[in-house]
Every structure is written in C-alpha cells, then in structure tokens.
Amino acid sequence: MEKLLQVNGLCAGYGGCDTVRNVSLDVARGEIFGIAGESGCGKSTLLKAIMELPASGVAINRGSVVFDGRNLSGLSPGEFRKIRGSEMCMVFQNASASMNPIRKIKKQAYETLRSHRKMCRCEAYDLIASVFEKLGLSDFDRIMNSCPYELSGGMNQRVAIALAMVMEPKLILADEPTSALDVTTQAQVADELMLLREKFGTSVVIVSHNIGLISRMADTVAVMHDGQIAEMGAKEKVLKNPEHPYTKSLIEVVPRLKGANCG
C-alpha cells in the first residue's frame, strides 16, 4: 500500500543550520507514528519542516517530503496553503495559546473554516457538531459559546483537535499535544487522538518527550537524538528490545511505579 507521508533524507533547521540531519521515515494511511526524544533532538523542528510553516523560521536544506504522492517542495506557496489546514493539520502543545483567549470559540472556528472553504455559518456549525459527536465531546453549545480562558486546558486541547479534524485531514501532526496537561487529562487526550484513526482513518504523527505516552498510542516508534533517528521500528520491538544504546538508556531512565528504595 502506498505510503501517505514519505520523508527522504531530510535536512532542515533554522538559519541554514541543520537541526534535523538526514531523517527518513514513512507513515502509512491510518497509522499512528510516534517520535520520541528529549529536548533539542530536533523532533519539533522535524514537524515544522514537514508542515513548512512560514512563520516558524524552519527551512528545508536538503531532502524531500512526499505527501499523498506529491512532492511538497515542488508546490507553490498557494498550493501548499491549500493542503496545509485541510489535508495536513497541526495540533500544538498549548492549544489555549493558539486561540485568542477572549473571543468565543465559535467565532474563531468559523473564521478558520471559512479560510478553507466558502460556507455559511449553519453549515460550519453543523460540520463542527458532527465532528464533536464523533469524538464523543458533549456540551457542544456550551463549548462553542465559551471563550478559551473559560475552559480547562484539557478541554481546550480536545477542542483544538476537534477543530483540526473538521476538514477531515488525512494527516495530523501533533507536537507535544499533552505536555501542558494534567496526568489524568493526558490519558483522555491520548485516547481522543487514537479515536481519530478509528473514526476518520486519519494518520497521526505524534512527537513527545513522554515515552509513556508514545508507548500508549503509537504503532511505530522512532527515537530521535541529536537531529537523527537513533532507532525506528514497531513499538513492541523498539521499546521491549531496543538495540541502540541511546534508546536503551532512555527507556531505562523512565520512572516506573514501584515500592520506594531510597530515603
């Protein structure tokens, strides 16, 4: 089966530097791909390079990204803009920060949708309502009429994911989507992201420093270190039988529940 996303020998970074060095990976349709790594390893830069967000300062120096059979570097900015947001969406770490805190959510949602497709308010709301329903989010009216500052962090994040899903994109790139959330909420949001694959067939690339989260969600895991992929493969293999010394040390160091042995 043809791969949805193919990254080939990608070198990207800020100001001509290579933060991401020679990264290659494949994401199939409906796959959840997890990228684990510590801060500074280049995982967020990798996502920004794939998405080619203009304001991020990230530029691709070498290599290519092929999305749904199309080479993204060959596209004009206008064509890319059409893909970005409707076929490929990004969910950020701090959802509340990517929304205007004092404007009602329904106004912001409508604005976002309108920038992709001409539609009237009713159509937009119906579309959002159906997504909310599919994702099991209740209280549609209350949420729509609230401002982000009135909702909890977890709720904001789930709303952000729902809004990202309205255009039914083929791929969601999630950059540390649960890091700003409480432990119990993290589990809920993680489950929500997994639901996207079930209900919409969307592929998800999730980047996180939290290996527990990756192990909970992903099918395939890649461990990044110093801009390169140290190890990549099926989740069970990478996490149970790591080969690369960095992966081994990373997994070893994650605290596991146990009876205390110090103090």
Binding site: R216, L257, G263
Partner: protein
C-alpha cells in the same frame, strides 16, 4: 523517639477572588521526619504548590499550624525568616526562571553564602561555590555563565547547589524535575537522594508524577482539590490504593509496555 522535623496540622488557605472564595488548601496534615524524603502527589489545582508556599512562609495560612524544628513558623518577623531560611530552602519548577537573568550563576550562588552564611571574602566565596558545584556534579567554569546559557538540567543542579549552600534541614522541591527531560530528571533525582543521605537533609518532594514519587519517597500523600485523599507508605498507596482518584493516577502512569 522519632521527633518530627516538620509537622503540619489542619492547614487551611482560602483566597478571596472578588466576591468568591477559593479554598486552595482545606485541612491538610502531614509529618516529615529528619532526613526523610516525603512525597506530595497531585495535579494542577490540587493545592500542593500552595501547601509548599505556606510552609515556606511565602503566604499566610488562614488557619492551622506549621511546626518546623520545634518552632511555630507562622507569621515570623523579618529576622525570624532569616533564621528560618538557614534551615529551610526551596527548589523551583522552572530552572531558567529561578535565576535572575541579569546575574551570573556565581553571583546568584554568592547571595545565600553572603546573607545567610556570613561569608565575606571573595576567596572564601569562590571556594565554597566551587565546592558546591562539585557536590552537584557541575563544572565550576559554569559559574560564570548566565542561566540562559546552560541547559535545564544544569540549571536545576545549580539551583540545588544554591539551596544546599546553607546546609538546610529540609528542602522543599516544587515540581523540581517536571520541566526537565527524562535523562536530566533521573540525574537530578539521583542527586537529591544522595544529598539527602550525605547531608542528613529532609526533602518534601512535590510532583504530579506518581511513578517518580514511588521511586524516591518512603511516605507520601495524594492531594486533590485541597484535601489529602490518601497518605501513608508509598508502597502501600501504590500496592493497595483506596480511593478512585489514586487508582486513576496509577493507571495513567503505567507505561503500556
């Protein structure tokens, strides 16, 4: 007789927000022995940070008592706090903002040495600072850097060095490792355990990560919405959780593999 280093009794703190009242801490009691590492597990809004601030004297409790080293430390005078901070220190969550961005690490470390340890000469100060950095495993060359020039893990170690410079009896750690990478976290936690052992220092370790707490704290409590949900030996809390919330925390913490 095991004399408690810190005894908190029915501590309450209520904030007034306009017309509404917010109960941040609602009657929490804990006891920490000397050289013990005591854990407080809770999520945001649980009141764990408020509890720490009350103990540290940064805020005044609405009611309840805090006895530290056989002294009631509520409502101290300026000189009273001076004496208190020779025995009680704190490490904060965000390593970068716990240092003044316009001062070198060296100057920041000199501050408690000057004010609380009474060390005056440059030579002595430098000696002590290098000694402290050695203790926390940092290169003394980093003393002349600014906080934003070093990594989070290094910054947090420097913050710990600053805090233990006065050889406190109790160290309050407010989510001290939450902003760090897994590797840095492991190093800092190991450091804290070693320091507790070598300096006979108690640690009050606040975290949202129950797995982490279970690794280093012999006793701990679980806080939620200002109350103590469960308390006791950590291995009992993990092995036999009594409340639903604790069970939820435990299930969220387990790695799928």
């Amino acid at each position: 007789m095991d004399k408690a280093l810190l005894r908190v009794d029915e501590l309450k703190k209520t904030y007034r927000r306009g017309m509404a009242e917010v109960d941040a801490v609602r009657g929490v009691s804990i006891e920490v022995a000397e050289s013990e590492i005591f854990g407080i597990v809770g999520e945001s809004g649980s009141g764990k940070s408020t509890l720490l601030r009350l103990i540290a004297g940064m805020e005044t409790a609405s009611s309840g008592s805090i006895i530290f080293d056989n002294e009631d430390i509520r409502g101290l005078s300026v000189s009273g706090y001076h004496t208190l901070y020779r025995k009680l220190q704190m490490v904060f969550q965000s390593p970068a903002t716990s240092f003044d961005p316009r001062m070198t690490i060296r100057r920041s470390i000199y501050e408690p040495l000057r004010n609380l340890c009474g060390i005056r000469t440059e030579r002595e100060l430098n000696e002590r600072a290098c000694e402290l950095f050695d203790m926390v495993g940092l290169d003394p060359a980093l003393l002349d850097r600014y906080s934003f020039e070093i990594s989070g893990g290094q910054c947090q170690r420097a913050a710990i060095a600053r805090a233990v410079s006065v050889r406190p009896k109790l160290l309050l750690c407010d989510e001290a490792t939450s902003a760090l990478d897994v590797t840095a976290q492991a190093n800092v936690v190991e450091l804290l355990c070693n320091l507790s052992r070598n300096l006979n220092m108690g640690i009050l370790f606040v975290s949202h990560d129950i797995a982490l707490v279970s690794n280093i704290c012999r006793r701990s409590i679980v806080m939620r919405r200002g109350v103590c949900e469960e308390c006791g030996l950590t291995k009992d809390l993990i092995g036999d959780p009594k409340t639903d919330y604790t069970k939820q925390l435990i299930s969220s913490a387990t790695m799928a593999i």
